[in-house]
Assembly symmetry: C2
Homo-oligomer: 343 residues x 2
DNA sequence: ATGAAAGCGCTAACAT
DNA sequence: ATGTTAGCGCTTTCAT
């Protein structure tokens, strides 16, 4: 060991620089840089000695310097404009992140996750706009316009879900056909012979929320039925509970189309507490097909949303853009009905 | 515009540089830099014109350049060496992240989250070692030594839980007193008059796993009781299910100390399926006091672990180190028993 | 209070 | 195949 262990300070030993590696290997900076870049146009001898020097010095290139010079970071941000409770509570994010992570694992890009709830000081935004990542994935939902637009202007972005902006042109996003999904789910209820059908929606200021309500209404209309009450369940278990209570207060429906599995869980709890059987007294079709759909009893009949594939598709589109290709601005994924026990 | 707009590419308009801001404001780079740094030793007039220029140009400092020069990034990494399933499935991480996030929100530091499951190419490690963050928080668990040590050597690190390294000296960590917690939980079972007590453990290659088993055994020994079977439930619902099945196969215990809420959920499912009542036939004390403890029926009697406080404490220690202070290497948090319905 | 000048550690032409 | 030369955009002495 030639390096004395200087490590009494918080940061470890002063990091070796490319210059030191070059000196030790008896070559120039450029040669070391070439080795770092894949070892092309480097003699076997030089390559060997550089590699050894890197090893001995425990050298890792300084990324700030590297990105400053090369204008790329090899990092991709996933921004989730939600608070931690929602982020961890909603299984949608788990699948989305899983899809993204897996797709990115085989590339040189590293995924940075930002849980940017309120972020008063715009720390996250400045970080992204400041050139710290090559591209960003945003699980849009109900983020404020300025926030989205600032990032979108500075760095290639792909949205998960339809971004909430005035003018969609120029934006890239991967969305699920929520209108279609809601129609499929509602249709199943109608096919089962139900007529008085209520719905529990997500927040209507979110595209996912309003799209699913729209699908519900469209399908009811197509069947010549008058839609029952629609109550906002906030995409949470508790919200679903309260929404169901409000619906019940107005009379017991034959069936309920619930716009997420989580809300369905809350709703079913209320139904049972009221002595109503599912599906015998009230049938339920939910939306998501997340793990809770099979974990709870009775197991949910639900509209499957391909969240993981959505994550993968987002990465595909972003990577294509970063590679200079021209992927389609809009990618739409489809849903399918999974019939289990609640309808 | 002296620079031709080469940017038909994905990224938006070329970002303004400090030089352009200076020119527009009619001052030097240095003055702009001072304004950026807080506006000290700058005349009101200059300050005003620089601010306007920044605004008009939509200027955001390039962070790579800034960190290269200033040797700090204002970013802090949270590294979770787990796969996404575990990360999202275990409520422990949700509270930990919540605590960390909240504590960091009021500082200038930005939290970068890395879900570094396998990471074959060491992308995450190189990112951290490459100086991309000022410090790192690691939810340690069962990460490989080399991984932890490489990061620890390069950047100030604080671990959540006791890191799995040969020599603990030099490491900073915030841990929960798991031995004590397990003793408290086990004691409660003994106090209730139970004698034949089994345990479902976490993986024993994790400090949390072995500590809780050790506490269970210590308390049983202190009471002069022979510990019942111990089965590894992997800290998951399914693992808990299987562990309980193995225990049952060897005979029905009077009580089980289960080292996590999630595993208790699986275990109770098995018990009920076997026609056994909880707590009448088999009493259960779990560990965590996560949201599932009150969500399920019956509600869990469990040892409360302050995960959120743990996250906050981790940030405190790291921030202290970054500020040049000398916080204690070890911080131990305590547990308390929460009595509900299962014991 | 302000500017000039010297890097931070790296990549990327451009020579050779 | 290798070295030389410029920067990348910023902070930071050091003068003034």
């Amino acid at each position: 060991m030639e390096q004395p262990s200087t490590i009494a300070s918080p940061r470890g030993a002063a990091a070796a620089t490319i210059e030191e590696v070059a000196a030790r290997a008896g070559v120039s900076r450029s040669t070391v840089s070439r080795v770092l870049g894949g070892g092309d146009r480097v003699s076997p001898a030089a390559l060997e000695s550089v590699r050894r020097a890197i090893d001995e010095l425990n050298y890792v290139p300084n990324r700030a310097a590297r990105s400053l010079a090369s204008r790329q970071t090899l990092a991709i941000a996933l921004v989730v404009p939600e608070d931690t409770t929602r982020f961890f509570g909603d299984p949608f994010f788990a699948s989305l992140v899983t899809g993204i992570n897996e797709k990115l694992a085989s590339t040189d890009y590293l995924l940075n996750l930002f849980i940017a709830s309120g972020d008063p000081g715009d720390k996250t935004t400045n970080y992204l706009v400041g050139g710290n990542v090559d591209g960003a994935l945003i699980a849009s939902h109900h983020a404020s316009n300025t926030f989205l637009e600032r990032i979108h202007r500075a760095v290639p972005v792909v949205f998960g879900g339809r971004p909430l902006v005035a003018d969609l042109s120029g934006y890239y996003f991967v969305d699920v056909d929520n209108v279609e999904g809601a129609r499929i789910g509602t249709r199943h209820l109608i096919d089962r012979g139900h007529r008085r059908i209520a719905t529990i929606t997500g927040p209507l200021d979110m595209p996912v929320g309003s799209d699913r309500l729209q699908g519900f209404r469209a399908e009811m209309a197509a069947a010549g039925l008058k839609p029952g009450p629609a109550e906002d369940g906030d995409f949470t278990v508790d919200g679903g509970t309260e929404a169901m209570q409000r619906i019940l207060a107005a009379g017991v429906p034959e069936a309920v189309f619930v716009a997420s599995d989580l809300m369905a869980r809350g709703a079913i709890g209320v139904l049972r507490a009221a002595g109503l059987r599912v599906p015998e007294d009230v049938a339920i079709v939910a939306f998501d097909d997340s793990p809770v759909a099979t974990t709870m009893t009775p197991r949910l009949t639900t509209v499957r949303q391909p969240s993981r594939e959505q994550g993968e598709a987002m990465v595909d589109v972003l990577l294509a853009r970063l590679a200079g290709a021209e992927p389609p601005h809009t990618t739409i994924l489809h849903t399918e009905l999974v019939i289990r026990e609640t309808a």
